[in-house]
């Protein structure tokens, strides 16, 4: 029987007020150790000011095979982009 530590996904927020971003994963016995290890592995050079860890088994994800139908609705709605609309130059910056 395997005594392997569970896998955690690590998310870090950098210095400049951006969202937490996935940076990698690691094994740890619990959340406290996962955070400590994440500090040592993923922030050795000032990469972050905040760490989230989530046990990998808790992450639900889209299936690659469904990519087409899943994202199709957004592909057919070009009017959601501001450049869809021609605004005369005289109107000025908008």
């Amino acid at each position: 029987m395997s005594n392997e530590w569970p896998l955690w996904e690590v998310f870090i927020r950098g210095q400049h007020g951006l969202s937490h971003r996935h940076v990698g994963s690691l094994h740890a016995p619990d959340a406290d150790m996962a955070i400590k290890n994440a500090r040592d592995v993923y922030t050795r050079r000032n990469e972050g000011v905040s760490i989230w860890v989530v046990e990998a088994r808790h992450i639900a994800a889209t299936a690659p095979g469904e990519k087409g139908p899943l994202f199709e609705p957004s592909e057919s709605k070009v009017y959601r982009h501001p450049t869809f609309f021609d605004i005369p130059d005289e109107v000025g910056h908008m």
Binding site: W5, G24, P29, R45, P64
Partner: protein
């Protein structure tokens, strides 16, 4: 390189006509530089080859800590000691990034470690050479990490997303390794005659093992074709080796050291340096397990794993007890 002599399971690259629709769609993605991601469909041999290559690369990072760790307690100054410690810690991190990438292919880290410890997986031949004097530590950072950078910069473009991302992260940290090494050996080369002698000795001993890191000559490299077609490998062994030689020779000359190979000379026509072939029988011998330090390295790895078992089990038991208690409340 850090991954040498990786066998692809199948011999020969399939033509488009021989491929199934699924295989053709997969090859199209690769040809269009679209990254393959963990849950995408991939041929079994692509997966198996990647696991072998990434696993061997990960093992190399971890085993690579041993020759340098050897000098942490004997570094000449506190600053050099702190720098070396930071570098060795980076190598552990690099191992982790790579094991993580391999895990996305469905092979657990513990399983890869087990295969290494049972002698069924390999690590780079370079780490089976001893680090005999302090100048070796400089030479390892400069030459060994320097060679690794040449390979890993190319591998940033590898087709498998998690491997490529691990390479990008590693390359960012790796240039610290090369520069601290060169800085250390500069001190030796510009120091007393005895220090200079040690620097020369380190370069003489590590030169050929360093250029062997790229693996056999292309003419002998039987496994490359499929890996190149799948962009698991991006440049050939000889291309990478030439690139490393070309960038390194001026660096040796700057140190005022003698070139470690009498065959080195600038070839105006090719626009590259010529150099002698290493003794490939030595390379194959080291790969087979008969290098100067193979036994030491594997003994140290197994001991670290076995000695750490109670810590791993204890922490897991503690975590399980704590979560059971929380659940009961």
């Amino acid at each position: 390189m850090y991954a040498q002599m990786i066998k692809t399971a199948r011999s020969g690259v399939k033509t488009r006509d021989e491929m199934t629709d699924q295989e053709r769609a997969f090859q199209d993605k690769i040809d269009n530089d679209i990254k393959i991601e963990p849950r995408d469909w991939m041929p079994d041999d692509y997966r198996a080859t990647l696991i072998r290559q990434i696993g061997q690369h990960a093992h190399s990072e971890v085993v690579g800590q041993l020759p340098e760790g050897n000098w942490i307690t004997r570094a000449p100054t506190l600053e050099r000691k702190a720098i070396l410690l930071a570098k060795v810690q980076d190598e552990a991190g690099h191992g982790l990034y790579l094991y993580s990438a391999a895990e996305t292919l469905g092979e657990s880290r513990d399983e890869l470690v087990r295969l290494l410890h049972e002698g069924r997986m390999k690590y780079s031949s370079i780490f089976n050479y001893p680090t005999l004097n302090w100048a070796d530590i400089g030479a390892v950072g400069w030459l060994v990490d320097g060679a690794a950078i040449v390979n890993q910069v190319a591998l940033q473009r590898t087709s498998y997303g998690p491997y490529s991302r691990a390479m990008i992260k590693i390359c960012k940290e790796e240039s610290f390794h090369a520069r601290q090494g060169y800085h250390a050996i500069m001190k030796m080369a510009f120091g007393s005659p005895e220090q200079k002698r040690q620097a020369q000795d380190a370069v003489n001993r590590l030169w050929f093992p360093a250029i062997m890191m790229f693996g056999p000559n292309d003419s002998e490299s039987t496994h490359s074709e499929q890996s190149m077609a799948w962009k698991i490998k991006v440049k050939s062994n000889d291309e990478l080796r030439q690139q490393f030689v070309d960038q390194t020779i001026p660096q040796i000359e700057y140190l005022g050291l003698d070139l470690p190979d009498p065959g080195i000379r600038w070839n105006e026509e090719r626009g590259h340096y010529d150099f002698s072939d290493p003794d490939w029988s030595e390379f194959f011998d080291v790969i087979k397990g008969n290098g100067p330090c193979n036994v030491d390295r594997m003994t140290a790895r197994r001991k670290a794993w076995d000695d750490g078992e109670w810590v791993r089990d204890g922490l897991l038991a503690h975590a399980q007890k704590k979560s059971a208690r929380t659940a009961a409340e």
